[in-house]
Symmetry: D2
Subunit: 462 residues, 4 copies
């Protein structure tokens, strides 16, 4: 309503009161201008009402919201359902334009602003998490797996004759399937073991490349965030090799933004070698619903070329969710959450060590992985341990995974023995549990307590 | 609250009143059961409140909503922002699972239900629009262009050595770029002219295939919905050829569900030849925000195999928007909108004919295209006509496109002269205007009036 | 959006697109300024999004919404529940101030604006409905009955020795109880019958006044909107008498704003005699939830003195609901609804006449009442007819009332025989049905159909 | 979700997943049944989503939400605006019925449930705050002042010849005006001073009663929550006198529920003497928007008789806000907030003492008042101190009140010198500041800091 309408209010209300309200409105306007000009997450998060109003003001910038607008095309953001319109803040045009997901739509200035502003704020968030220098990035309207596919599709244009992607083994289906979806052959190389940890065997990557022919390798696909006892890949060594060989390195950093260790690996990889692009999940790092991923890199031109490959428009939803969340978080709260997560990880480790000791088990030593933990299940027959997973789920503990090491699965035409364990022959069956961003201290206690009870019951039922 | 809680209310409120409320609750439950069992759009649309309550009840089925649930994984639907949680009905798990976008998530029964139920309702909607037999389909979390890319990625696995997609020329960037994104070479074949209409030249497809080598052709890409004077492609002829040659036919039916002509072409193509898959936009056909597309076909196995190629999860948003809209529409209102659109098309044609006559122009004769119209701009220098587009936009008419025929554009490495006109040498400059589903009769009058005024002003300013 | 922030957007987005959005924002600002300056309902209703944004902008003017505000008092609009905050648009200060419900709160400029603006718009609505000249009015935070009480409490200060309120008989409890709540004695005078209609017997008012002593009469309480066969009171005759005798006239115009006949009576009463104040329901006239009433009159000073009597603050909700509704209606739609209601009344009359004829009943002739109708139930024992009411309710017809004429009720110490019939000895039992604003044509058909069926069943069951 | 519909889901989704969701739904149903049966605030607050769903399920019990319902009356909850419907959860019938605000509406079982359930929960909240025994109470649809008026209107029926209300002096307009609105004469009696505190002078009440005539006294009106240096009234002494003399005692406990001292006084007054009714604000005690008050007492019959006096219906809003808030709070969080408030009061006291010492002022010793504090302004001319209030407000400190003691005001025909100070001749000018429920620790620091700065500036500007 801003600007001069305030003067008109003085006919109804005392001028000094009205001017106080105007000052508040101007302060709010000034915060918005600062946001748009600086394109950084505000230090202190905005209130729910400020965010809500801001989004509505942006949405009013799309042509379908203009008073008196009529549509003469086939896509005019005519939203039938009032509920649908509301949950989307009446934003109907999506983001991107036929050519490019970063293109501005003349009809939809508001949606375009959300798109661009959010990408800038996410870049800021990555740099707050420690990625140096500040990367270029954009949000994709699909989750991590498909975002990796998109990166490979882009690489096809750069390496038109290449056929294979070499991936260090990590037993996560969408990670592996991202290669298949892009139409490439997947070559999974085995990890090595160092103490309890399962780590990158860089030599096996080199060997695989040699056998395939380096010129036939589209890229190496590595991973940072993964379930213990798998350690994040040794990105510096891989990136050094990639640089030497002229092979692109694609990193799945799915939920690694929340981990200083993963972030450090990304930085080091860039510093010493070649890291073309790293992909992260919006939901896992920024606590929004599943839907978007962030494709990031240090070469603006390359990142933009992936965006430019996307044919057509996409939902505005994932960007909007991230925008609203980052504005509410603010720099302070985001940093606080990052540091709280570390504390919670330590708390979880201690709590599980107590349960493990009680049940004659132990927590595997996986110092490189500071997000998840593996709790051995050595005292139970491997054939039976999967039952423990169900028991936890029915006890309202979601997300804990039991790995027996007995399963075999074929993904993207590759047969993987010991599925789930990231290795053919892991000695222990175990349970993995994560301390991810947004977990609350009180959840740790409940997880430990319910695990303890479930193990007791499980033992009895054997 | 349903079921026996009603009995407990009788301690506070008179029993006969309570029982009336219970009867209403039972009726509502029974409608939901019917929906889930039949998986069809209800005949009469549900009220806004019924839909809202239904979605909230479904959302309560995801594990993150279970009272007492704690998360021990890395993706636990911990939504930070209350505004984000609300606009997503607290649904955070997305749809699909690492393996497959149609997979059910144990953690997210509610989200999975939305995914499956919506796909069934969309199939019903397609069949209500006239597609026969009822097709198999699923919603993708990206718009039409990327959905076409997904189809081509799937075809790569079936035709591993093929390299080219042959497309009949239609000057729409994301349509053409969908081929490039999939990593294939695009071969655009010219159309022929029949009176004012620009139509499929099936022989040029055959010639192109011959020169490329049929075995190298991934697929033929045709289009139904397009801007006049471009006519929908002659699908029956193309599908006959495709069947003969064993080449897949992919159809971009972007906003064709609303047109009985486009629907008829799809049906005929299936009847007489080979039509592998047809893709349509959610926003343009079902009046939801941009974000999803529908991949449909008559071979369940093939359609499912495209879904299975998608690596990982996706946003629930596009499905949710469609679900809520179809429930509110009901069969009756949806059919009514389809038939109203036809009437509005005729109204638009008449109104524009009057304006055309007044300004010494005419409406091109494009009987095969019953969605859009082309209004000649013969009395103005071609170099200047683009200005008219801006004039209309600043007069709050969005979506009208001016085509001068003078522009040249390179898309997916293909150089296209006369960009926008679907032909190198279209004789007229013109303006295209569409009568799409959801347009209101009063909008037609305003479009005509503003066009009239804009033309007057345009003439003066020349 | 917000004045100059648009310039800052041009760093992110093309300037010409941004300026289009700015023009739209300016147009919207200009509409708001016009509203605040003119304080009239806009001719064309605003869109849902415009209204929503407007209310949020107003709410941002309350001090609790100021960024950086801290509270040091005991009422600082600290809303605990986010759901409660949202449903109230974060408006927490209510309306009024300790002194007066019309007082402006320094802390709550936004809430104060809602209060004042809405009162102006309601005055406009009353004048659109035909009240002449435009009355002074304000919304009370309670419904009609308590608003009448408030009027009587004000009159106590003007007529400190008066003890009785004389009311023409209308069998509506809150109407009668409003006198008792104010601490006055209620004197109900009998109506007369003219044909089927039950009408004002002005002479009985005069007689009652004489027996009580005119100086002891606080006011005469009359009614316009009432259930057939009761006719609206003969306000001109009553107001003439009131003027002659110096007795205030209070009119319960509960749902009379929607009826040109009731409006005409109010106008005539003012023209020829004395009409101090007339009270109407917000929900029944403006289609909002139950909660507010409008106290209106032609003497600003007197109306304001009632507002000034209210001790303390009140909920902003009833005003907010009315404000949002009137903005969405606009003058055009409001007038259209008023005229549609007349048509629906005629339709209802015809439909019920057909049912009546079929069942050997008739519609009572009540030409003065153009809102409701009475349908005789002469063919059934009076003791049983109440059952028909329940039958209709269980058949999902709400609001139809069956009057047997056999009941006796004591309200405010007055014993009323034939309760419901507005007369001691009404010859028929009957069913009343109303055609109120917002009723839809299709509802009429259903009411008639279900009544027909219910009567058939009722007859069988006798 | 809804009983057996879960079985129908098993056709779409794996049965074991569906059954997990059903278990969660049953748990939720069971919590609701427990709530309705026990009518107590749950120990642990419900989640936002549970509350939201619960309210929607209740709202579906009102007849206007029944599928297929048609309205044949004049008040059928036809809500025009979708925004208004949503913010009211589609609840349109209000609470109460013509006769009584506690009456159940057959048409509106859901609204009636909200009304009754909330009253029970508020009674529980009062007892959690320490009121013993658990009182009877109900929410009024207006704030404290009008609720007091309602109590006096009820007392008129019990003491028909009484004319005066004796009130101990407290300088709060709506408190005093509540007597005038009810049509009684207000007799304000002076307080005495004990050290810095201004306290009840019970003898002056007795003297006033004698001079008026005890039989002419409607009631004594006392206050608990008030601004320092005013102490809560000595309720035990007053109630003893009232019992002796047979005079009703009405207590304005506006925001006293949050103070154990005020609660104790209420309990003691009941124990030793006569306390008819005590009234509290919903917004100030339960952190909801302004709109409702709670009329409470220990004699169910008397409390109910006040409710029964209310003529007609009222808004459901204030009850709904309180219901949702109490469900979210739970017993645990409510108790925690009560105890946090005490801590914050102490923190505020310390922080202000430091500022006072710095500026040569002091905090008045007011041990009986544990909600607010008075900060002397002895070093400034009394004529100027009001400016300090404005300075604080423009520095975004709302709610601090400056009392110069120089003002004179006439309220309800009573002239009060030294308005604001609760006494004619208070020695100091001062500033009052409160630590009310919901205040946050960090707000205390900001208040102190801004006060310090404002005082510096104020001194400079003198």
């Amino acid at each position: 309503m801003m600007g001069d309408p305030f003067e008109s209010l003085t006919a109804l209300l005392p001028a000094n009161y009205v001017h106080m309200a105007r000052d508040a409105a101007l302060a709010s306007t000034s915060r918005i201008r600062h946001l748009v000009t600086q394109r950084k997450i505000p230090d202190v998060g905005w209130s729910v009402n400020e965010i809500d109003l801001f989004v509505r003001q942006i949405a009013a910038m799309d042509s379908n919201a203009f008073p008196g607008n009529v549509g003469a095309g086939e896509r005019e953001s005519r939203i039938f359902s009032v509920l649908v319109a509301q949950r989307n803040y009446n934003l109907g045009h999506g983001i991107g334009r036929s050519g490019d997901i970063l293109a501005v739509q003349p009809k939809a200035v508001g949606s375009s602003l959300i798109n661009h502003l959010t990408n800038h704020l996410v870049s800021h968030a990555l740099s707050l998490a420690g990625i140096q220098p500040k990367p270029h990035c954009f949000i994709t309207p699909f989750a991590t797996g498909m975002a990796l596919t998109m990166c490979f599709l882009r690489l096809r244009h750069m390496r038109p004759n290449a056929t294979h992607v070499i991936a260090t083994r990590v037993d996560q289906k969408s990670h592996l399937k991202s290669v298949e979806a892009a139409g490439f052959r997947l070559c999974v190389v085995a990890n090595s073991r160092r103490g309890d940890e399962i780590t990158t065997d860089a030599s096996s990557v080199a060997e695989a490349a040699e056998s395939i022919g380096v010129e036939n390798v589209v890229a190496v696909l590595a991973v940072t965030s993964c379930f213990a006892p798998r350690a994040p890949d040794d990105l510096p060594t891989l990136s050094t090799w990639c640089k030497d060989q002229g092979v692109p390195l694609v990193v799945n950093n799915a939920y690694g933004v929340q981990s200083s260790k993963c972030v450090h690996l990304v930085n080091e990889a860039r510093r010493v070698g070649r890291l073309d692009v790293f992909v992260q999940s919006c939901d896992k790092n920024f606590m929004v619903p599943v839907g978007g991923a962030v494709i990031a890199g240090f070469d603006k031109e390359f990142v933009d070329s992936i965006a430019a490959l996307y044919p057509g428009r996409a939902s505005c939803g994932p960007s909007l969710d991230v925008l609203m969340t980052l504005l509410e978080l603010g720099v302070n709260r985001y940093k606080q959450l990052l540091s709280q997560r570390k504390t919670i990880y330590e708390k979880l480790k201690s709590a599980l060590q107590i349960v493990a000791a009680k049940h004659g088990e132990r927590i595997l030593e996986t110092k490189s992985n500071n997000i998840s933990l593996a709790f051995t299940l050595d005292n139970y027959p491997k054939e039976d341990v999967s039952k423990l997973g169900s028991m936890l789920f029915t006890r309202n503990v979601s997300g804990a995974r039991v790995v027996s090491g007995l399963e075999t699965k074929t993904v993207a035409d590759v047969r993987l023995c010991g599925w789930g364990a990231h290795a053919d022959d892991h000695p222990s069956a175990y349970l993995t549990v994560a301390a991810a961003i947004g977990m609350k201290p009180e959840e740790v206690d409940i997880v430990a307590k319910r695990l303890d009870k479930a193990l007791q019951k499980f033992k009895q039922d054997l």
